[in-house]
Symmetry: none
Subunit: 243 residues, 2 copies
Amino acid sequence: MEKEAIYLRVLNDLKKRINQQEFPNLKLPDERSLATAYDVSRSSIKRALNVLVQQGIIFKKRGSGTFVNPLYLKNQTMFQSMGHNLGVSDSFRIDGEVPAVELISFEKQAADEDTQLALFLEDGEQVYHIKRLRQLKGQTFMREDALVPVKLLPELTAADLQGSLFQYAEATTKKAVTRSFLTISAEPSTESDQEVLALKQNEPVGVMAGIYFLDDGTPFEVGTMRIHYKYMKYNSFDSLDGE
Amino acid sequence: MEKEAIYLRVLNDLKKRINQQEFPNLKLPDERSLATAYDVSRSSIKRALNVLVQQGIIFKKRGSGTFVNPLYLKNQTMFQSMGHNLGVSDSFRIDGEVPAVELISFEKQAADEDTQLALFLEDGEQVYHIKRLRQLKGQTFMREDALVPVKLLPELTAADLQGSLFQYAEATTKKAVTRSFLTISAEPSTESDQEVLALKQNEPVGVMAGIYFLDDGTPFEVGTMRIHYKYMKYNSFDSLDGE
DNA sequence: GAGTGGTCTAGACCACGAG
DNA sequence: TCGTGGTCTAGACCACTCC
């Protein structure tokens, strides 16, 4: 077991102190003082601070100092859901209700060339092809089509697909799904979209296509979700630092 | 003038080499070799590599090495706007062509309650209400509706709105717009959407609504963009690291 | 000029993966 | 065991802001 990194200890402590409004004038001590106070190197302080900058919680001004983002303290709810667009059961929860799952099909097949490339597979390796629907209050709001390498989850059964695939993977492989690369777009609904998602002809679907990675970088799933447009809400927090 | 940082030089060179497919097996040299080859410290190499990881272009596996994300080479256009969803002129560039701007209306008004909240304004403060269209090759692909505090840009004129508002702000205030909080969704097109964006009745619009911030955390703009669905491509790279 | 953050270095030791 | 990336240190010098 890897012990907690120093910069994470500093990070969490600083976050706690910020939340407790321990810096009433919104100015943090300078980096060298923090290094002395925590008895760590300035580099470790910088690393912790940079994560907080990345999360929009603080900002730095060269020559002046480091400051808490006033927006963070005044409107923390806005920051809570950010950076958490991973996983249907979390993102599409409504009133605390977790979406129901309907398994449409589940089969092993050989990975085609594109899939091999995307999932880092060798010739002849197999993937699960999983088609599912997600429902809230009896209404289907998402069609999901996913490909997952068989070798990552050799014991996967249809029953496991009634719940969260990511949670199953985390329990089984001891590695979390922590990264995703998604392309989000919109399209007119097809006839079959209209039927399954109860859409009118002029109503669109949101499309989220992408790849999900385990925390060690292993590609875990490529998939596409076609989503009833009323349920398609994607929140993003962008930052252009360090570019 | 600040000279280009070493890690940026390494970063750009590595990106170029990746784009030129100089690593056919998708594996990069190890960090220590790169440090020797570039004649810089390993820390600088790590910094450059970490930016590429953040951008989803490469991923690292401890004990194994550093690898190019196969998706990146397969579909680079997908990655172009990543981490760059700030600013229309950058995100919606096509073939290097910068979108043209058409100013529809531009007026000062009192901020209503929601706007005050979003932009952190006091009672009675004024905002610019700006409506613009964006065009590529003569075709309008976006309707933009924005609110900006007057006090941030007291000298703003209609002429300035023919170009990038963000660039104007950066030149005027000496602060860059580096952060955004966006909600992305899709809707059926309205009749006026169909007219302005040349959409058929069943074709949708993408909607991107959000707040933009200066790098010191000041809210700069709240706005909504209604986008022709074929131009709506939002790429996101999510990471739950260090949380 | 003093204070503060930004960049960079050289090297040490740790943790993980593969053979 | 070896190669690889991860973390951390101590210190140097630079660039910007403010007095």
